[in-house]
């Protein structure tokens, strides 16, 4: 395979920094910091959105004192948690206790690497993109187990075990459905998967080709994020707060952050895998060709790509938040039965169907 230097330069010019092309390392810091800033702002928005939507569903008023319309509520909460005392349990394992939430945060933050917001607008255009996400999201249960074990609390330990069992049980149907998408798109790269959905506009989305997959992916990612109806780990009646019982201050804030970050990653992946990513799905004749200014068109396309991806992701976020405040909680054995005895055979059957449809069309 002969690789042109032109291709290398195309991949390297991720943003508009043309001066630092030879230094590979420095190119990547500014986009990464931009991404982290974007993620922080998104988490603030999601926290506010959840509180407003839950207030509307419960017919009360949400946050209204912190900033206009309560928009700065998440910043207020975060600042409060940052300034609180860091309580370490007396007979717990202090190093594991401190590292537990950090491992969960790192594994979720790393998943943002492969999410594309535009054609050349992805941090790392790996050919194994979705597989990297699946692999990294398997690290999160380790952090939860560490947190539960090191707290030296029966309820924390039990909660940590349940969290790990739930996470790994729902990873397998999730991975099988991602595998089916890879089969349809002939690639594991997220950019290729979105490109494969761009041909027929609205009807090229993978949701029409894998409707069962969309529903099961929704269910499995809600279970991975430990949100209702799979909320058993935070069941206040049973487990106090599960593996988060002994945590206070910013470590509790990190768990809170993990929950919302995970939700954001899942909704972005639903967008990329099933809803067509950054493609504006109204089939339009590219009127951008009429404009002769290439740079302005590039920036406009980038902005539109980000806007469209975020709109679709926020649709899924709205669905998740509404589900959380509408449905009751499932029991642990019902949860595991659903994962192992219902979703796993469905995922294998779907894989068989997809393979046969691919073979027929060969």
């Amino acid at each position: 395979m002969i690789i042109d230097s032109v291709e290398v330069e195309t991949i390297n010019s991720f943003s508009k920094l043309e001066l630092l092309k030879e230094v590979y390392g420095l190119i990547s810091i500014l986009p990464i910091l931009t991404l982290l800033l974007g993620i922080t702002i998104e988490v603030l928005v999601i926290v506010w959105l959840e509180r407003e939507i839950s207030a509307s569903i419960q017919q009360r008023i949400g946050p209204e004192y912190a900033g206009p319309l309560g928009l700065l509520q998440a910043i207020a909460d975060g600042t409060k948690l940052l300034l609180k005392e860091d309580i370490l349990p007396s007979r717990g394992d202090i190093s594991l206790f401190s590292i537990g939430p950090s491992i969960a945060v790192i594994s979720v933050l790393l998943s943002f690497l492969v999410i594309p917001l535009g054609y050349h607008f992805v941090l790392a255009d790996l050919s194994i993109g979705v597989f990297l996400w699946i692999a990294i999201s398997s690290i999160a249960p380790i952090g939860l187990l560490m947190a539960g074990y090191s707290s030296n609390n029966k309820y924390s330990f039990s909660g940590g075990l349940r969290a790990a069992a739930q996470s790994i049980s729902y990873e397998i149907p999730l991975t099988f459905f991602v595998l089916a998408i890879s089969l349809l798109s002939n690639s594991s790269s997220t950019v290729d998967i979105v490109e494969a959905q761009s041909k027929y506009g609205f009807f090229g989305w993978n949701i029409w080709r894998q409707p069962i997959g969309f529903l099961v992916f929704l269910i499995s990612s809600l279970a991975e994020c430990e949100r209702l109806p799979f909320d058993l780990l935070e069941a206040e009646e049973e487990l106090v707060a599960g593996y988060q019982t002994e945590y206070s201050g910013i470590k509790y804030g990190l768990f809170y952050l993990v929950s919302y970050l995970n939700l954001l990653v899942s909704s972005l992946f639903v967008t990329v895998l099933y809803l067509g990513g950054w493609n504006l799905s109204i089939p339009y004749i590219s009127f951008f060709d009429f404009f002769q200014m290439n740079k302005a068109v590039g920036i406009l396309e980038m902005t539109m790509g980000i806007f469209i991806t975020l709109t679709k992701a926020y649709l899924f976020l709205f669905i998740s938040i509404t589900i959380r405040w509408t449905l009751p909680r499932m029991r642990m054995d019902q949860l595991l039965n659903l994962g192992w005895k219902f979703l796993l055979p469905i995922s294998l059957g779907n894989l068989l169907l997809t393979t046969s449809s691919q073979l027929v069309s060969l």
Binding site: M1, I3, D4, V8, Y24, G25, S28, I29, I32, L33, L83, K84, E85, P89, S90, S102, V105, I106, L109, L110, L113, A124, D125, F131, S151, N152, N153, Y155, F157, S158, L161, R162, A165, I168, T175, F176, L179, A180, S182, N186, S188, V240, T245, E246, G249, I250, K251, G253, L254, D333, L336, N337, W340, K341, L344, L348, L352, T355, Q358, L362
Partner: protein, 155 residues
């Protein structure tokens, strides 16, 4: 290649010229391959450094603000809804949580090995698909056995 050296001098010169030309091209393509790999994975390496910083720096922020908790030792004991904690937290746990990760070990490599198979279906044709189906069939029989034996029950 060895048998050609003595018999046909033109062919051997042709092969040596090809080898030296392809070596230069190979070095050039290896350099660009290295550049490509580095440019693909450099963001990951830098991100791997930055994200632990993001998650570990907030752990140190409360230290100037926090009060001294050694004056209240009850604050540090395990939480058990107000009463004193009874027994050791790590003596026993429910045995039914033990088989779940063990049963996870089997489908996890199953799906991992399916990923290289899923990507190029037009290159592996019918034979490749059916051999993967045989692999999945063996593992499905195992899963059915564990289901019937009740490894997933009562959880």
């Amino acid at each position: 290649m060895k048998s050609f050296n003595g018999s046909n001098p033109h062919l051997s010169i042709f092969f040596s010229v090809c080898r030296s030309a392809s070596k230069e091209r190979r070095e050039e393509s290896e350099r660009t391959k290295w550049a490509l790999v580095m440019s693909e994975f450099a963001p990951i390496c830098i991100y791997l450094v930055i994200s632990p910083l993001v998650s570990l720096i907030p752990l140190g922020v409360p230290f100037p603000f926090a009060s001294n908790s050694s004056t209240y030792p009850e604050k540090l004991s395990a939480y058990e809804c107000g009463s004193d904690p009874s027994g050791d937290a790590r003596s026993r746990f429910d045995i039914r949580f033990y088989p779940v990760p063990i049963l996870f070990i089997i489908p996890d490599p199953e799906v991992t090995f399916s990923f290289p198979w899923a990507v190029p279906p037009n290159k592996i044709d019918l034979f490749g698909s059916w051999s993967m189906m045989a692999f999945l069939l063996i593992l499905t029989i195992g899963s059915l056995y564990e289901w019937k034996r009740g490894a997933l029950d009562r959880e």
